[in-house]
């Protein structure tokens, strides 16, 4: 407190500063409470208002469990695919050079910019019943993986790319000249540096995959026990008027989102501590 006072030219400045802090904080907190806090409170209330038993019944119904299992397994598989392919993509973008690299680099962000419903429709155009290449995976679990790969593509690339850019290529060259193989150089030199980036990218991709809805609606056909993921399952319950059941399953997804965010926070914390 004394430090703050010393830095300020005049007393009125300090009190003006405090007023500005209070004002901006008040605005931010109120806005967040009204826009995010209240709706989520209403959701949690609806899920639990009829007692823990009905909450549990909704969450543990066979259809809910099947949907949640599918969601988690598919999201996990897609996260792993992202870890490998995203890292390769980031490496090529940073260390390799070829014509059109700028365009390729820009295209990576396409899934951020393209509406998810359009993503689903485009995948169906190439890998659906009217596929010009003869591959039809529509309304199958493969379609879920494809759609999730589409919408999560940028995450690992964009978290690993800046770390690789900072990493001096000379370290890799030194490892090579000392006789280390490519695999060994990657595992011992590059991987430890980019691992936090990979992990936080994977966590972001996982969060996105668990909640994904738009791209799955068209392409998966939403067959219960077969291709119905949790978000689509929640939507189905809303449509059939079972809003407390929908809320119960939604609270589970909310908890998963919280946990994923928390783990990203922990990863970042460990990574920055490692730097110092």
């Amino acid at each position: 407190m004394t430090e703050v006072a010393l830095n300020r030219p005049a007393r009125s400045g300090a009190s003006r500063d405090r007023a500005a802090t209070a004002l901006s904080l008040g605005f931010v907190t109120t806005f967040l409470m009204v826009m995010v806090g209240l709706p989520l409170a209403a959701l949690t209330w609806e899920a639990t208002s009829e007692g823990t038993q009905s909450f549990w019944d909704a969450v543990s119904s066979p259809e809910s469990v099947a949907a949640l299992k599918l969601t988690l397994v598919a999201s996990f598989a897609v996260s792993l695919l992202n870890a490998v392919l995203g890292t390769i993509t980031a490496w090529v973008l940073v260390r390799d050079d070829f014509r059109g690299k700028t365009v390729v680099n820009a295209i990576i962000d396409l899934p951020f910019a393209l509406p998810t419903i359009v993503a689903g429709l485009t995948l169906l155009a190439l890998y659906g019943p009217t596929s010009p290449v003869g591959i039809d995976v529509a309304f199958s679990r493969t379609a879920i993986v494809l759609a999730l790969m589409f919408v999560t593509l940028p995450f690992v690339v964009r978290t690993v790319q800046p770390v690789l850019q900072e990493l001096d290529p000379e370290i890799e060259e030194a490892a090579h000249s000392l006789g280390a193989s490519h695999t060994r150089t990657f595992v011992r030199v590059i991987l430890p540096n980019i691992l936090p980036g990979i992990l936080s990218g994977v966590a972001l991709a996982f969060a996105k995959a668990v909640g994904e809805f738009g791209s799955l609606v068209i392409i998966t056909g939403n067959i219960p026990f077969e291709t119905e993921v949790s978000s689509v399952h929640i939507y189905g319950r809303i449509e059939s008027g079972d809003s407390s059941g929908a809320a119960a399953v939604a609270v589970v997804l909310l908890a998963i989102s919280f946990l994923t965010l928390l783990s990203i926070g922990v990863i970042r914390h460990i990574a920055t501590r490692h730097d110092r």
């Binding site: 959701l43 429709l121 485009t122 929640i234």
Partner: protein
């Protein structure tokens, strides 16, 4: 020699991956849409319902983007320049919309503003339509696109430090003057970048709006909802035509991102 080969191999894997997942599907939709020339696509796009849907999407975006821009700047300033307890909590709260399923967002708003919701009867008595009307769709869109401006501005603010701001204040500038003359010019590219991301997210929002809009054709049907409606009505040409418009906007966004990112990093 071996390094050169593995380099080519990795490049091939990466380009193949992008082709299979991203470029291929999009190219097919472009090709299918303009297979029979430009006219059928144009006709499919200019039906009154579709134009209405596009207009609604633009209206929602035009409200949500300024709101989130102001919030994002104030929020970033609070996080970086102010000291207070619970900063970690605020940080986590802001990221939540990024990690949350849009359907969960929609359902939460449905439960808050719906007939049986907390605000439902109060709004109903006063004859204010929120659910299945424009307000809830705007609120849903604001929710899902909330973090983008703040997340872009926070690192830039950290990097530029506050020496110039302090100097300005020592020289007698008011808080407003400091903000407009010093802070805003130095974060402008980050703000613009955030606005572009927010706009893209708003235009493309589907899940949350699908829950709260009620999907009344010609009234609460946005462009993305219209894509699905056309697809389900077996009107692929119609669905593709709107998709192409949205995809072209997405590509404009990519171009803008590519142009602005170096400026943001240089600032």
């Amino acid at each position: 020699m071996k390094g050169w080969l593995s380099r080519l191999g990795l490049r091939a894997i990466m380009l193949g991956y992008l082709a299979v997942i991203l470029v291929g599907p999009l190219a097919i939709v472009f090709w299918r849409t303009f297979e029979d020339g430009f006219a059928p696509a144009w006709d499919a796009l200019t039906t009154p319902e579709t134009l209405n849907a596009l207009k609604l999407t633009l209206i929602i975006t035009a409200i949500a983007v300024p709101v989130n821009t102001i919030f994002g700047i104030v929020c970033a300033l609070a996080i970086v320049r102010r000291r207070f307890r619970g900063k970690g909590l605020l940080n986590a709260f802001i990221d939540l919309p990024l990690a949350l399923s849009p359907v969960v967002v929609g359902l939460s708003l449905f439960l808050l503003y719906g007939q049986d919701g907390w605000f439902g009867s109060w709004l109903d008595e006063r004859g204010i339509d929120v659910l299945f009307a424009l307000p809830s769709m705007v609120i849903a869109t604001i929710f899902v696109s909330l973090p983008f401006v703040a997340r872009e501005v926070v690192p830039t603010l950290r990097e530029i430090g506050d020496e110039q701001e302090q100097a300005a204040q020592t020289l007698g500038a008011s808080g407003w003057q400091t903000f407009w003359r010093i802070t805003l010019p130095s974060i402008r590219w980050a703000v613009i970048y955030g606005v572009i991301l927010t706009t893209a997210r708003c235009l493309g929002e589907y899940g949350a709006v699908a829950v709260v809009s009620g999907r009344l054709q010609g009234q609460t049907e946005t462009a993305t909802l219209r894509v699905q409606e056309r697809y389900e009505a077996f009107d692929l040409a119609g669905a593709y035509a709107i998709s192409i418009v949205l995809a072209l906007i997405a590509m404009l966004v990519l171009v803008a991102m590519t142009v602005i990112r170096p400026k943001e990093e240089a600032a």
